[in-house]
């Protein structure tokens, strides 16, 4: 009986507080919306390629591959092999999508003749989207042409290249995670905690401008968060090459400009996250409530930062999407690109969003309902 009363009390407290219900349901709604949008984007328009394929040997299968490629919106340009090593080098350098080699008498073998040890080799770079796509297409066609034979897939990617590619993909996501957790640890308590303890009202009674109070929170918290984020980032960046089996020497391949752009992207991203958490924290009635809201924010940010895993080719429109812009252009920089204007516009956009959040927080600090509502 007492247990029942205790349980009823807990349920009553939960189901009679709309904010708690929203906090509990919001993660599911956010995940559903984001995954649905991502799914739509992934399946809406499959990526198309203009394959450049070196061809050694002859087979009617090439025409089948050509037809299949065209049906899915791709084109194939067959190149003849003058020098085998040069052709492999072209695949390795990304100048060609693949090298397709048919053993002598392959068509004869398919029609039931000999030799019985016929082989098809596909040389490609699994780190290149066009190469991977061509391999998948030609492999599917070859599996259906009749007699069994060996398909020999040869990757030109070295272990170091694969490690570097993984690092390029993962590092920006890890940066976002560390920046968010660094910002959360210092920001969450600072506003909602002060509000809960009544110390924020003590400041509101002074003649300090509400905008000064908002900036007085966001700017120092951004600096503190930046230190935490940089420390975590350096730890990860310096240990990941070891983890991936890459020589530290690869860090030297990036120019000062690349490092500067990454730094600028992080610098603009930190105050944005701090402003976002501060605003949510100002709206919350307690640290507990702010913590629940921030968890939802964290899911949102994590999902956005993982979008690149599902959408390999994101256009320049990413500059307008906070979080995504940092991830996309840091990835591009790590891949050896130097997207100067995209990175600078992203920095500008992030600062603009931060300014908008500062304004919103200022309005919230002036709102008697938010600051003194029960």
């Amino acid at each position: 009986m007492k247990l029942l009363a205790l349980m009823k009390k807990e349920f009553h407290r939960f189901f009679h507080d709309p904010r708690l219900i929203v906090t509990m349901l919001l993660p599911g709604i956010v995940i559903f919306l984001l995954y649905t949008i991502m799914g739509e984007m992934i399946h809406a328009e499959p990526e198309t390629y203009d394959y450049k394929v070196y061809l050694q040997g002859e087979s009617f299968v090439t025409s089948l591959i050509g037809v299949a490629a065209e049906e899915s919106g791709n084109t194939v340009e067959w190149l003849s092999v003058e020098d085998m090593d040069a052709a492999k080098k072209a695949v390795e350098d990304g100048e060609a999508s693949a090298l397709l080699i048919f053993s002598d008498g392959f068509d004869n073998f398919l029609e039931g003749g000999s030799p019985a040890d016929s082989v098809v080799s596909i040389v490609y770079d699994p780190l290149e989207d066009a190469g991977t796509s061509f391999y998948a297409l030609s492999d599917a066609i070859l599996q259906q042409v009749g007699r069994r034979f060996e398909i020999h897939a040869e990757s030109v990617a070295t272990e170091a290249n694969i490690g570097r590619e993984v690092m390029q993909q993962i590092l920006p996501f890890i940066i976002v995670c560390f920046v968010f957790s660094a910002c959360m640890s210092v920001t969450l308590e600072s506003v909602a905690g002060e509000k809960e303890r009544g110390t924020l009202s003590t400041i509101l009674v002074t003649s300090a401008k509400r905008s000064d109070i908002a900036l007085g929170k966001i700017l120092p918290l951004s600096c503190i968060s930046m230190l935490g984020a940089i420390s975590s980032f350096l730890g990860v960046a310096l240990s990941m090459p070891k983890l991936m089996g890459i020589s530290m020497g690869f860090l030297g391949k990036y120019s000062i400009g690349s490092y500067l752009l990454v730094f600028l992207l992080i610098i603009s991203f930190v105050p944005l996250i701090v402003a976002l958490i501060s605003t949510v924290s100002t709206a919350a009635r307690s640290v507990k409530e702010a913590s629940a809201y921030t968890s939802v924010l964290m899911i949102f940010v994590m999902v956005i930062s993982l979008v690149t895993a599902f959408l390999p080719a994101i256009g320049n429109w990413a500059v307008a999407i906070p979080v995504l812009n940092a991830v996309v252009f840091i990835q591009e920089i790590l891949a050896g690109g130097l997207p100067v204007w995209q990175a600078l516009v992203s920095v500008g956009a992030n600062l603009l969003y931060t300014a908008a959040l500062v304004y919103l927080m200022t309005r919230m600090l002036s709102s008697e309902k938010i600051m003194f509502g029960k």
């Binding site: 110390t199 009202s201 003649s207 008697e368 600051m371 003194f372």
Partner: protein, 266 residues
């Protein structure tokens, strides 16, 4: 007649004119108060004046509108109607100048436990834009007067309740405000800490400060106030010099007024 002449000679430091404030009641509040009303008038056309160098007491039961009135005067919330002028500044038009003219103290305003009285005094001095040398001299004077100097470097969280109250009071007047506003200054305090507050108020009065306080404690009003305003349901039931309102027994006069307004039900 003498009072009218007196009021003309005295300098008006606070003038509230027809102040109004209405709150929206949440469903939860409606349920608690068993009412179908969606709006509640907390303050309904309140007018009064307080004079320089005097203590003005707003007396009324819980829920009468005292805290709402003082919050409007402190510019923490905006009146829906009417206005108040403090030290020559309108709470509606010049809220920041009003905040620089007042010291506001309530049990709901707290100090960060991590910091020391010394640090907080300097911080709130900076918040009010007090010059450093002025602030330093004022700190020395106030800390010494109220015995805070020995605890100036002790974290607020480690101070005794009485000392913490003194520090809060001193910090509320860091900028030497023209008017000091105290909302229920002794509410929830033990007798010793309450005495710290009443002594502080007496000390401020001796220093010539103008004070506005809200309370439901008769003895506090009788002991300290020069003028008193009695509020029921957001309306001023009576206002004037303490002797005129109390007529020798403030509690008796209060309940006579209460019965006149609300009937016999208490």
């Amino acid at each position: 007649m003498d009072d009218m002449v007196d009021d003309m000679v005295k300098e008006e430091i606070v003038r509230a004119t027809d102040l109004k404030k209405t709150f929206t009641l949440s469903r939860k509040q409606q349920k608690i108060e068993r009412t179908g009303e969606t709006r509640r008038v907390a303050v309904n056309g309140l007018s009064f004046s307080a004079y320089r160098g005097e203590i003005y007491g707003l007396l009324g039961p819980n829920g009468a509108g005292k805290t709402t009135t003082l919050r409007m005067l402190a510019t923490l919330i905006k009146p829906d109607g009417g206005d108040a002028v403090i030290n020559g500044y309108s709470v509606l038009k010049e809220p920041r100048k009003v905040r620089d003219s007042i010291g506001f103290m309530t049990s709901e305003l707290k100090l960060e436990g991590f910091f020391t009285p010394d640090y907080l005094f300097d911080f709130f001095g900076a918040m009010h834009g007090v010059e450093k040398d002025v602030l330093s001299a004022r700190k020395r004077m106030l800390f010494s007067k109220f015995g805070i100097d020995k605890f100036a470097e002790v974290s607020v969280k480690d101070l005794s309740t009485g000392m913490l109250q003194k520090v809060s009071l001193v910090i509320s007047i860091v900028h030497d405000p023209a008017v000091v506003i105290f909302d229920e200054p002794t509410n929830g305090l033990d007798v010793l800490t309450a005495k710290v507050v009443t002594d502080f108020l007496a000390e401020l009065k001796a220093m010539g400060k103008s004070i506005l306080l809200s309370t439901h404690i008769f003895s506090l009003v009788e002991k300290l106030c020069d003028r008193v305003g009695i509020i029921f349901d957001g309306k001023m039931a009576a206002e004037g010099p303490l002797e005129e309102i109390a007529k020798g027994d403030l509690e008796k006069s209060f309940f006579e007024l209460y019965r006149g307004v609300k009937g016999d039900v208490i």
